[in-house]
Subunit: 407 residues, 2 copies
């Protein structure tokens, strides 16, 4: 009787079954990006096709007490992609599923395999003159399959929605080892129950995504990036409301950051400096709002309208100071401030991450109440609060009190 | 032992349980809008609250061989909302579930009960200065619960998506008579499996939708409606591609109609006349494309850009003739032409309706192949082909050959 490992090697090729002794390679699959979770796998299997994924699932199902942990780019922050310590879990990595199967310009869709990095999907769309708008900090290494398995969000959800809303179809290997596909590229598909959305966000528990069909969009011709300081989070919400009414779908991103977040960035990255003061004249901390506009029309008109809307927000007292990036380099620098916050948190030391959704109308009240409640429990803990204001999706993170030792 | 009818009367009030002899009222629930399906119900129950719906479901579950047919505005075209002829089905109408529970302007959401007519949802959003963009011909009588149960589309799917994409949460009475709710208004909700989308489009088979939370949008400040004639459906697809690139999200609707569709309208409605000829100089039939643009900016700029894009489409040969509505009245008249097609089909006589989704890149080939195949089977049958070009969602209808008798 052959062993499970022998059979897996026969199915995907011996080079694509990693076990203890395969060298350093294994560690990258058994440990998460933050190095907070580390497990021990029975093996890591890297199938090259969806059929091989199905065969691996069927073979593992016949093995006693063996479970499968699907893994994409292994950029998750909550340990969902790494094995436990039992040594009885097979890590099934999608990294070899890397074909761009089709870019359909008329239908504005792209069909790719699950192991393609998000940035590679963006690049394939761009090569066809189109935009794939999903964008997040780990886009260089996270995979599109993982983005859908976790229903990832990112910085352009305000306009384009989460990964779920961008997805038109999936190819999935079910827990029974069957291949289920809905890669038809239809905008409207009312045939039977919506199984696609059941797999999206199910984190590999219902099946393993092997390929996806995603929506594409026209590439914008003009972009404007702006920064505003607000006295309160409620003022930031009022500013957002004004921008939505003024720009509708041209408002593609709106990020809020509290002063503590940006102070951390300035402390740890010498080249990154906020364009406006982080506190008002009286020393009270300010919220910063980073806004991204994109339009199919010309840039000068967009810039003019952005300046008019920001002037109106100053007059209304929603913002106390504003700045508009004068070049693409300045725009990139503003986004770097936002993107460097998690890195600065890591350098600073012990922290606890939360990714929360709150209705925008309750956001300011929530943060005030949660801050007060936490201060009562952990005096001196620093609130590193930032994220996607437009979606009510904040990273409500806690940093250990200054000077506290690492756990 | 009390009977089922007695118990239902006790649960919802005797006035809200209709049976044979309740007068004409019953017929409106037992027969569909097209009068093609007619059943006989055990009774029609009209609960006034979600709790009453749950109680009715639980009581019916205890009755032997009794099933429930949920019904909204009863505007469906496929018989899904009417009972069969067994006399053992309870029609559960949502027409008394009519509260607007909340309009949240900051969160841009509206929470309403399932029995509200689509037009009433639009009006409640408008009263708060916001837009609820779902729009279809039956909006005066179809209900929002039915829109979600069938994942309705409509004329603005191109920009805003189907009913599914507009929905953020549901309140549902499950088949077990339990109340399940996700009316939180969150843009991002990754808690557990996505049950919401399983209920959306399930046509009442998994549960009865009693309330919904839907996305709202800023009201556009400017609109432009245009009409174009194209020699082929492939040219119409090329025109759409140009318009998408030029206007992105400002392109909110794009409908295509073949010449036969509009000829029927002109034959049966004296006041409705297409703004451009339906055939070219050689007598070849033309496709008509109705385009709706909406912008948060000023109307003169939008009109200018629309005229420039249409001029470019003429130069490229995608369109052979174009017209831009000069007033809101003209714009409405153009949309009336589109909306009158199903009515004209009804007056003309026997017809078969299809509601199909095809990837845009295959649409022209599909219609050519299907037309040829049908002509071989039913010589002389008229192809009344029209619908939502932007979504690849066509009403591919057949009208009996001219002069054929009614079934």
């Amino acid at each position: 009787m052959t062993t499970l490992l022998d059979d897996l090697r026969a199915l995907v090729g011996a080079a694509h079954v990693l076990v203890d002794g395969s060298g350093d390679a294994l560690a990258g699959y058994e440990r998460d990006w933050r190095k907070r979770y580390r497990g021990r796998s029975l093996c890591v299997v890297l199938p090259g096709t969806a059929d091989e994924v199905a065969a691996v699932v069927r073979r593992c199902a016949r093995a006693d007490g063996v479970s499968i942990v699907p893994q994409g780019g292994n950029t998750g922050l909550v340990g969902g992609g790494v094995p436990d310590e039992s040594g009885r879990q097979v890590v099934l990595s999608t990294r070899r599923l890397r074909s761009v199967r089709r870019v359909d310009a008329d239908n504005q869709t792209i069909t790719v395999e699950a192991g393609l990095a998000l940035q590679e999907v963006q690049a394939a769309a761009a090569a066809a003159g189109l935009l794939f708008p999903l964008s997040l900090a780990s886009e260089g290494s996270c995979t599109i399959g993982g983005n859908l398995a976790t229903n990832a969000g990112g910085t352009q959800v305000l306009r384009f929605g989460n990964a779920r809303e961008l997805c038109l179809g999936l190819e999935v290997v079910t827990a029974q080892g069957e291949l289920w596909s809905s890669l038809h590229g239809l905008r409207k598909d009312n045939t039977g129950y919506d199984l696609r959305d059941l797999f999206v966000g199910s984190e590999g528990t219902l099946g393993i995504i092997t390929a996806v069909t995603m929506r594409l969009f026209p590439r914008p011709r003009a972009g404007v990036t702006a920064w505003a300081s607000c006295s309160t989070l409620a003022d930031a919400v009022a500013l957002l409301r004004r921008l939505r009414a003024a720009f509708d779908a041209e408002l593609v991103g709106c990020e809020a950051m509290n002063a503590a977040s940006l102070s951390l960035v300035e402390r740890h990255f010498e080249t990154l400096r906020a364009p406006l003061p982080l506190a008002d004249a009286a020393g009270a901390p300010l919220w910063s709002v980073l806004t991204e506009l994109a339009s199919p029309h010309d840039e000068s008109a967009l810039r003019e309208r952005a300046e008019a809307a920001l002037a109106a927000s100053l007059a209304a007292g929603e913002a106390v100071d504003v700045a508009v990036a004068a070049s693409q380099a300045q725009a990139r620098a503003l986004w770097q401030l936002r993107e460097a916050i998690p890195l600065a948190q890591g350098v600073e030391g012990l922290n606890i991450k939360h990714d929360i959704g709150v209705p925008l109308s309750s956001l300011a009240d929530f943060v005030a109440a949660a801050d007060a409640a936490l201060e009562a429990v952990v005096p001196g803990a620093r609130h590193i609060t930032f994220g996607h204001l437009g979606d009510g999706n904040l990273h409500y993170n806690l940093q250990a009190p200054a000077g506290a030792c690492r756990l």
